[in-house]
Every structure is written in structure tokens, then in C-alpha cells.
């Protein structure tokens, strides 16, 4: 059996995983929203910038982004903590995906909604933020939450640069105790405890935002 110290270490590691995920949700979400707006912007330059950003980020593995953030920056002479590097990589990675998911949501809102908003004499800014975005968000809730669950699980890649998150700590304990079943069952339960509330929240959100079809 595991000692209380080992279980405690796993719980602390779960907090690092949760922390890394929350940073990716909040900062990645903020940057992602900006990217989504740029992608549907009327300005060609903004569209091109955001398109390139998404292509580069989606076209490279998160593992490589982590290592670039950690080792790459050190080669250039910047000293960076593993957790900072992992956070930066998670934010960049999640922002590109959030951006693309939300662009899809925004574009899926029927064009007639824009026209109706215009008939109500709403300013273009109001049309976008008050009419289109709320509807777009409802459409993109399932993929957004699905991706958030992916983020939680992908934080495990931070172990390659030495962040003592859940997967890393579990490997450490397993390699010392040789009790893979006990260790990884506990780890699976911990990941589930982090991911299930997201799925539950997604269902609540879909119900709440589903005003038009009630």
C-alpha cells in the first residue's frame, strides 16, 4: 500500500495539474477570444496574423512547444522556471484551439441574425457582442468543454520539462514502489475528479444557454 506521504504527494501534484489547467483556461481563453475575433474581423491583416498563429500552433505538437519554451529560451539566454515555461506553452496551445473553436461558433450563427440586429439599429459592436457572441458561445459549448478536458489531460506533457504534476509524480512513485495498479488507479480517479465537473458544468451551461429552444 502507499504511505500517507505518497498519497499526499499525489494530491499536491494534482493541485499543480489543476493550476496549470486553470491558467490554460483563463489566459488561454482570453487570448483565444482575441484570436477568434481577429479571425472573423473585416481587417485582412488581422485575419492573416491570427490565421498564421493558429496554423503554426496547431501544426506543432504541444510536447515540442513545451520543450521550445523551456530549453529553447534557455539557449537564447533567458532563465525560465519549468512551471512558467509549461504555463506559457499551455496558454499558446489552448488559445489557438479556443480561437478556432469559437470562430466556428460565431460563423455558425445565421446571417439573418446580423441583419435582424442591424434592423434594430444596433451599432456593429453591439451586434457582435450582444447578438452574435452569446449565440456563438452556446453553439461552441460542447467542443469548448471537450477541449478543456483535453487540456487537463495534456498538462501531463509538462512532466518532460520537470514540472512535478500528477503524471510525473505518479511515475516517480511507481518506479520506487513497483505497485503500478494502486498508483495508477489512484491517479485515474484524481484525473476523473478534475474532468467530470467540467462535463457536468457543460451540460448545465447548455441547458442555461438553450433559451431559444425551450
Amino acid at each position: 500500500m502507499l504511505t500517507s506521504f505518497q498519497i499526499q504527494a499525489l494530491l499536491v501534484a494534482a493541485l499543480w495539474t489543476a493550476g496549470l489547467s486553470l491558467i490554460a483556461f483563463s489566459l488561454g481563453g482570453a487570448v483565444g477570444l482575441l484570436i477568434a475575433v481577429m479571425r472573423v474581423s473585416a481587417n485582412r491583416v488581422l485575419r492573416a496574423i491570427s490565421f498564421t498563429y493558429i496554423q503554426i500552433v496547431q501544426g506543432t505538437p504541444l510536447l515540442v512547444q513545451m520543450m521550445l519554451a523551456f530549453f529553447g529560451l534557455s539557449i537564447l539566454g533567458f532563465s525560465i522556471e519549468p512551471f512558467t515555461a509549461a504555463s506559457a506553452a499551455m496558454v499558446i496551445y489552448s488559445s489557438a484551439y479556443f480561437g478556432e473553436i469559437w470562430r466556428g461558433g460565431i460563423l455558425a450563427v445565421p446571417k439573418t441574425q446580423w441583419e435582424a440586429a442591424e434592423c434594430l439599429a444596433l451599432h456593429p459592436f453591439q451586434r457582435f457582442w450582444l447578438i452574435i457572441v452569446p449565440q456563438g458561445l452556446r453553439i461552441s459549448t460542447p467542443p469548448t468543454v471537450g477541449f478543456m478536458v483535453q487540456i487537463v489531460k495534456n498538462t501531463s506533457l509538462a512532466s518532460v520539462i520537470g514540472v512535478a504534476e500528477l503524471t510525473y509524480t505518479s511515475k516517480l512513485i511507481n518506479n520506487s514502489t513497483f505497485q503500478p495498479f494502486t498508483v495508477f488507479s489512484l491517479v485515474a480517479v484524481l484525473y476523473f475528479c478534475m474532468c467530470y465537473p467540467l462535463a457536468w458544468w457543460s451540460r448545465k451551461l447548455e441547458d442555461k444557454l438553450n433559451v431559444a429552444h425551450r
Partner: protein
């Protein structure tokens, strides 16, 4: 896995270019800082591991402690993994690695090694008191090994060289191979001798006993290239502490085996 290796190779190459030329004085930096950053792999029992109270223990941990003591500086342990040991070293995240790091020609192109301070022995081990004295005794037997590991190529080559007709059963990782042997699927196991200590401690009822050594790998402290002062200091330190029995004592405590009288250089 391939992507990871490729990236590491690329990053290491960039690091090499960045590090080339300048002969740095890491030894001076360590003394000035009053602390040495040592990369240790804590996932390699019994070289580096965590105990029941999550304290870092193992022969590499003790060696690093002795090393820091010898330098008269504080020890900062940085945990590394087999795949990122060289990048951590090349990018200056650690001053040296004491991480069950065996000397190979391939690695010599990228980093420097001190004189070897310990060994990693690949052995053929058996359960149930089966006695073997060499590869020839394996004829007609099933041999368990972890797929694509160094152990796998060693036993494959050894059997081929002696033209022995044994069947090799390959599993995906050490834990699986160990489970297969413990559960009696095979009674011959090609494995790092050091790994048997914690396995036997966890499973006292079915001991896996080493029979003969297949190959001995020298383990050394890894450092960046162009560090003549640090290398000279490490070489002297290793030689002295092998002579006075300190390194041997550390090895014996954790590996329950003696170091060979002469550690091969490669």
C-alpha cells in the same frame, strides 16, 4: 517518441552551437554560487528514487551529496529523466548529471564524462533456483526481456553469437516484463542487476536471482564539454573516493552488490 527524440536532438544541436567555442568555468561558478545543481533521475531505483516519506534516496543521491560535500558547497537536486538529461546539461539547467548515466560513444559527441564512479550491470536472472552459467545454458528456454531495450539487443546478439536456440519473449516495459516473470510466465529474465533489488524487496516470496553478467556499463558524472577545471576536479574526486571505499560503500548499500575492482572505461 520519435517527435520527442527529434526535438531533443535539434535542441541539443542548437545548444551545441551555442556552447561551442567558449571554454566556460563552471567549477568557478559553482564555488562562487556556493551550490551545485545536480541532475538526478529519481525514476531509476535504486540509483535514484523516493522512499515512503517521499524523500529522495538512492546511490546517485548519496553520490551527489558526497560530491557537493567534497566541493564544500550546497547540493541542489534537479530531477531529470533519461530523455532530457543531455538537454538539461546543454542548456545550463544543471552543472552536472549524476543520473545512472552510462558512457557511450554517441553521448561523448555531445557531453563530457568524468571517470566512472559506478556500474550498471545487465544480468541474466532466474526464478525458482534455476542455475545458469552462460548463454549456452539458455537452449530451449524462454527468456523474458523488455522490447527494444539495450537488454533486448544484448541477449539477441549473445544468443545469435553462440547460435543458441532459445525463444525471446518481449514485453513493452520493465514493469510488464517483471510482472510476467513474477507471475511465472517465464523463469529467465534479462534485466539490469540494480532493478532486481527493489523488485525482490517488493516480492520476497518469489526472488529473482542473478546468474551471470551479460555486460557491464560504466556510469559517470556527465558534464558539458570544454570544462577542463571541472573535469579534472571530478576525475580526482572519483579516483580518491573509489580508492578510499566511499563510492563502493554507497553502491553496496543500495545495490546489495560490490563494484568490480576495475571499472571499465567504456
Amino acid at each position: 517518441m520519435n517527435i520527442r527524440n527529434l526535438t531533443l536532438a535539434a535542441l541539443t544541436a542548437v545548444g551545441l552551437v551555442a556552447a561551442a567555442g567558449a571554454s566556460a568555468d563552471t567549477l568557478g561558478d559553482i564555488r562562487e554560487r556556493g551550490a551545485i545543481n545536480v541532475g538526478i533521475d529519481l525514476g531509476q531505483a535504486p540509483f535514484g528514487m523516493v522512499d515512503g516519506s517521499m524523500k529522495q534516496v538512492g546511490s546517485d543521491v548519496e553520490t551527489a551529496k558526497a560530491l557537493a560535500e567534497g566541493l564544500g558547497v550546497k547540493l541542489n537536486v534537479v530531477t531529470v529523466a533519461p530523455a532530457n538529461r543531455i538537454p538539461f546539461l546543454m542548456t545550463g539547467k544543471v552543472d552536472v548529471v549524476v543520473a545512472s548515466f552510462s558512457i557511450t560513444e554517441e553521448r561523448k559527441k555531445q557531453v563530457d564524462f568524468s571517470k566512472p564512479y559506478a556500474v550498471s550491470e545487465v544480468v541474466v536472472a532466474t526464478t525458482g533456483g534455476l542455475a545458469l552459467s552462460g548463454p549456452a545454458d539458455l537452449a530451449g528456454r524462454q527468456v523474458a526481456v523488455t522490447r527494444a531495450s539495450t537488454n533486448d539487443s544484448l541477449i539477441t546478439d549473445a544468443l545469435k553469437a553462440d547460435n543458441v536456440d532459445a525463444s525471446i519473449v518481449r514485453y513493452d516495459d520493465n514493469a510488464m516484463t517483471t510482472n510476467a516473470v513474477l507471475s511465472g510466465q517465464q523463469d529467465v529474465y534479462v534485466v539490469a542487476q540494480s532493478l532486481l533489488v527493489p523488485i525482490n524487496e517488493a516480492n520476497p516470496s518469489r526472488k529473482i536471482e542473478p546468474q551471470f553478467v551479460l555486460r557491464t556499463y560504466p556510469l559517470a558524472v556527465g558534464l558539458r564539454k570544454n570544462e577542463p577545471e571541472l573535469k579534472a576536479w571530478l576525475d580526482t574526486w572519483v579516483t580518491e573516493n573509489l580508492a578510499n571505499g566511499k563510492l563502493n560503500g554507497i553502491y553496496e548499500t543500495f545495490h546489495h552488490a560490490k563494484l568490480p575492482d576495475v571499472i571499465p572505461d567504456a
